[in-house]
Symmetry: C2
Subunit: 575 residues, 2 copies
């Protein structure tokens, strides 16, 4: 801020000079004072300079709408929407979100610092205010075949940059309370840089939660019970109440939220698909749920605005008051929270649900062509079995948790054989970053693929190539299709590729709009259920995405082989 | 934080290693969750590591007392207690204050950066956590004869230092909303350093308050009505509720404070004499008043702790929770707030109202010998008058505001003459920093000094030497006494110095304890009323201290002459 601009801002505030923009006839919601005042909001140089009788170069009629500070997603992996930050902005800004705190750990697992830089660059082309955390756990576990590794030196260097807000969610709880040196180095780097550290502590309690907390961790977004919320607030942490695609925790958590403790609560989406955001909303959905559940509207709005800003020390953000950045949303009511007009830094950027800014969706070569696999043959896909008793990964409806069950299957030449009488299919995970040839093959049930294969390169957290199918030919074809496309989601049926959503950016993001991604994924999902017979209680792609994440109970598959999460060790498929 | 210490802290939290100290059997007050839980607090390396079943090298019985996070004075001029930061710590820590945000603008007016450095050094010798703001208005107004000037370059350089928390109270409101370049340079420097700026905006409202606010100012401690509190909260500011010696605003302001908006309120003392602190308390007094007035105890405690910490971004401060610094106070009850035990960084530093640490009260030559005056004779003390009609500064009971009245006085040789029949005395202000010989002489009423003189070198904000008396001989003697002592407070009666409290540090602070200062000042005050006949509704020294501050209505005296605050111009004594 130079004195010339400061002087001009002050003169506009005092009424000596006209504002850039005055939004007249608003009902201004102040979640601190818990008041709604009628008035005009004057803006100059991106800042709100005053509420009152002001004149501006441009005057906009608020038509008596409620003016609320722009909503903040306190924790999001933008990549989960399978679109670029730019495209994400095009989708969420018209819903009233003006700021996100993003942890780009998905792309970092594929492309490391280059991926992070792509996200920052893409976000800069959008009015969306995206603040980035340095992903703390790339890869998620030591033995993961990710495309990149962010060691403690890289993290320290990232945290030294002004553009990096803090340290992203520390998923390695055992690394914290087990005081692993690399983990402590990352935590120390953030502590010494004076930057916040996001937590990830599902189920943690008592002394282990204390130990995790004193590691410098200041937030948690993984609560699934009111007790967990209370336990974290009592430890001086912020709780980020999540409403995502898979994890829809918000309503369950609200009984723990009071008018007093809500100052330490904020809202987040974490992982939310484009389709879910377009159908249900983004942070405005969290606010709507909270208000509907009986949270007073001021506390609900505070959680969507100023609380998140305070949590992440976002300057001049989160209130409609002089001196704050002019991120303003006009709503018709305080129940449905359908944004009618959205201003960022005083610029009208969305109206009636539509973005008013251009979107380039520019792609950078540094993040494309990320699917590099060694040649795969049907032979490599074999699952050796000593007997007909086999371990099978059993999927559950609407859940990411799997069970390990033993089933009697057909065996031919010492390996699993497909048998239409046995409802067990094959799951294959191929290392796809460095063409190491590492491949994991195992058996699943309850997925339900028939006469075909389903494949994706979105597979948490390392984003290897995962395929499920009931015959090796279609599995191979699905692999080849995604190799050819440079990543994406695909369906193969009876020897033919039925449809593909290409995700050329790191194999996890599209270069098209969120609307097109959503349409494409919806279409594929419908086909997966109708044509390939995937269990209707299971999301065909998301379920595959999480079958490779070796930190969710109870049994998962990695390119290194079948992994027992409970014993935290590899195993084979013999039952 | 290095990884070795972090590792140890985590291991203590997880119960693997013993704590340094465990305070057992406490009722722990959490103002965020608004709960009181029984338990033990474990401390390691200065941090709270957990609440629960812990063991420590040392275990202390809390005897069922309430454990509250250490109190924070959000805005204080330590110099007003007329003792060093070290001595101040000795006084306030046993009362439950563990942290202060100090604006050393009194000593800065006398000794500039040297004075500030002395304060920082003295505070470092105390367990008290004193954070210092860079004084923004030295001198208070351009034409003041202060001992030092802090221009915008000095301020920018100070704000670049890690030890400087922000920019101290911006008293020059007209300079802000009038966009004076030097003022804007100071504000910009703080904004660009990302540091908070304290406000001082008595009575400001509407667009001028907006203009002041957008100058980057984030707090105000000068509210005297609930409306002023609400107006500032609506502008996204913090309000610091003051209970000082002269300004006892707290109770009047509390009707504006709600459970929701209190998160943006904190407590301060601003200017509070040692005697008042010892008689009534420090921040514990604010808390007591608030609770007595019906503020819920959790909000009251939050205002004394976490809110102030958030306002000034004090790291890991303000809650009893793992990861926070172990600044803990044990109280018998939550009504009287008499601190029984006080811990700072986990060390027991006070018990039963007594400090448990040594106090050196070390003095630095850079801040002594500050009284430098040109020779003064009786002739110089004359007040020229054209007629017997004279302007007289009229003092009010219990107020710093003065009126300008016209009185008929005795005149001899074209100058004011003392006349026992006319209750008008003389007020003299001598520039005492650079021996410039500048001297202001004027007339006062309602002060009531008889057969003597009262003098002080504590005189806001420039701290020149001010004397009131009813004869020139005693006035001269009082001047000489304070010159000889290097500053202080003195009483002269019938040609003799009755008693003096020496304030050798910058002429405003003692090198003894706060207790001795308080005793000395109490004794002098008693003598002033009893022996010299000073009006009992007027504080003999504080009233003099403010008679030279040309920013308080309506008429004041500076070494440049009589000053009409309303017209903001100099005048003479002719009525």
């Amino acid at each position: 801020m130079n004195t010339r601009k400061l002087s001009h801002i002050i003169k506009v505030a005092s009424g000596e000079l006209p504002a850039d923009i005055v939004i007249r006839n608003c009902r201004i919601v102040d979640p601190i004072s818990q008041t709604i005042s009628e008035g005009s909001i004057a803006v100059y140089g991106g800042f709100i300079v005053g509420i009152g009788d002001y004149h501006g170069e441009k005057e906009i009629d608020g038509e008596g709408r409620y003016a609320v500070s722009g909503f903040i997603d306190a924790h999001v992996h933008i990549e989960s929407a399978m679109c670029t930050p730019e495209a994400y902005g095009e989708m969420v800004i018209p819903l009233g979100t003006t700021t996100v705190v993003a942890d780009p750990h998905e792309i970092a697992n594929v492309k490391g610092i280059d991926g992070l830089q792509f996200m920052i660059n893409s976000a800069r082309r959008s009015p969306l205010k995206a603040h980035f955390m340095a992903p703390s756990c790339v890869p998620a576990v030591d033995f993961e075949n990710s495309g990149a590794v962010l060691d403690s030196e890289s993290i320290e260097s990232l945290l030294g940059e002004k553009s990096i807000l803090g340290l992203g969610e520390m998923m390695n709880g055992p690394g914290v309370y087990g005081t692993q040196e690399q983990v402590l180095e990352k935590l120390s780097a953030a502590i010494n840089a004076g930057k916040p550290i996001d937590g990830h502590a599902p189920g943690l309690s008592g002394k282990l939660l204390n130990a995790y907390r004193v590691g410098g961790i200041t937030t948690d977004h993984e609560c699934t019970t009111p007790e967990e919320v209370r336990a974290r607030l009592k430890r001086g942490m912020y709780v980020l109440l999540r409403q995502g695609s898979a994890a829809q925790d918000l309503e369950k958590l609200l009984p723990a939220v009071t008018k007093a403790n809500s100052r330490r609560c904020a809202f987040c989406s974490d992982d939310k698909h484009a389709g879910d955001i377009l159908r249900h909303g983004h942070i405005n959905h969290n606010v709507k749920i909270a208000v509907k559940a009986g949270v007073d509207v001021f506390s609900a709005i505070a959680m969507a605005t100023i609380n998140a800003a305070e949590c992440y020390r976002l300057k001049n953000t989160g209130l409609i008051a002089p001196g704050y950045l002019a991120d303003i949303v006009l709503f018709d009511d305080l129940e449905n929270f359908d944004a009618q007009m959205v201003f960022i830094n005083g610029q009208l950027v969305a109206q009636g649900g539509k973005a008013l800014f251009p979107v380039s969706n520019r792609v950078d070569k540094a993040v494309t062509h990320s699917v590099n696999i060694a040649p795969v043959t049907e032979k490599i896909l074999q699952v050796p079995l000593k007997t007909s008793q086999a371990k099978v990964i059993s999927l559950h409806s609407h859940s990411l948790v799997t069970d390990c069950v033993t089933r009697t299957v057909a065996v031919k030449n010492g390996a699993f054989a497909f048998d239409s009488a046995v409802p067990v299919q094959k799951l294959v995970v191929v290392e796809r970053h460095r063409a190491t040839g590492k491949i994991g093959c195992a058996l699943i049930e309850n997925y339900g693929v028939t006469e075909g294969a389903v494949a994706t390169t979105v597979a948490h957290d390392s984003h290897n190539l995962v395929v499920a199918g009931d015959n090796d030919r279609d599995i191979l074809l699905a692999l080849q299709e995604l190799e050819h496309q440079g990543g994406g989601l695909t369906l193969v049926h009876r020897g033919k590729v039925v449809d593909t959503v290409a995700l050329p950016i790191a194999g996890i993001m599209s270069d098209t709009s969120a609307f097109e991604v959503s349409k494409g994924v919806d279409h594929l999902t419908e086909l997966a259920h109708n044509l390939l017979g995937i269990n209707r209680n299971i999301d065909p792609f998301m379920s595959l995405s999480f079958l490779c994440l070796p930190v969710i109970p109870h049994i998962k598959l990695t390119p290194e082989g079948l992994f027992n999460v409970d014993s935290f060790s590899f195993t084979d498929c013999n039952g």
